[in-house]
């Protein structure tokens, strides 16, 4: 599974993209966020305030209860501010 980070999430986590092997017990976005938060202080810090985390699965906006599976491209980012 590819995970992408943007804007201050990218800066706090310290990378823009990584490949992970999804643990068998993680089946949705909320589970992924919990699992990522346990990987180190930079993840914990970046992912503390869930209300400012937005998620896309395969380039589509989803809510935290969206299912995920191996092979998906998951992107984590703050609320968008273009235009």
């Amino acid at each position: 599974m590819k995970v992408l980070y943007f804007a201050w999430l990218r800066q706090k986590i310290g990378m823009s993209e990584e490949s992970i092997d999804l643990p068998a017990h993680v089946s949705d976005v909320a589970g992924l966020l919990d699992w990522l938060s346990d990987r180190g202080p930079e993840f914990a810090d970046a992912l503390t305030h869930r209300q400012v985390i937005r998620v896309a699965v395969n380039q589509e906006h989803v809510t935290f209860d969206a299912p995920i599976k191996a092979g998906d491209e998951i992107a984590l980012f703050p609320p968008v501010t273009g235009g």
């Binding site: 589509e60 906006h61 992107a75 968008v80 501010t81 273009g82 235009g83």
Partner: protein, 155 residues
Amino acid sequence: MIRVQREDFDLGQEYAAFADQDAGAGAIVAFVGRVRHMADPDQPKSDDNLIRSITLEHYPAMTQKELERIDREAQSRWPITSSLIIHRHGKLFPGDQIVLVLTASPHRDAAFEAAQFLMDWLKTKAPFWKEEETGAGTRWVAAKEKDDDAAKRWK
């Protein structure tokens, strides 16, 4: 049509091509968004409020798709005969153009509303993030509640 690019755009040229290929549309609306001079235009000028530059980051694989979705949504809601969205990314300076939306319709209200809708949805759904550099340093722009409210009126 959707274009995501680093380069500037020329409204005159874009309008001429757009208007030509849709000569039957009596109403054309254009919106241009530019980099502000002040981080908060409702506050006085100060070094901390004056913008030196902004950097627009985006999620290329998603940006094109999301803008196309937004554009399709506008086409399905209003009788617009053509639409164009151009959005820039990269480093930009005060006064630089960021975004262009063009809509054409036989009906004035449809052209206006579709353009406003495209901007509202783009502001809340298209994966762009602005980092602002002022005298106070560099910070990621926070999403505005009023942009969320603006997007919600189109439910």
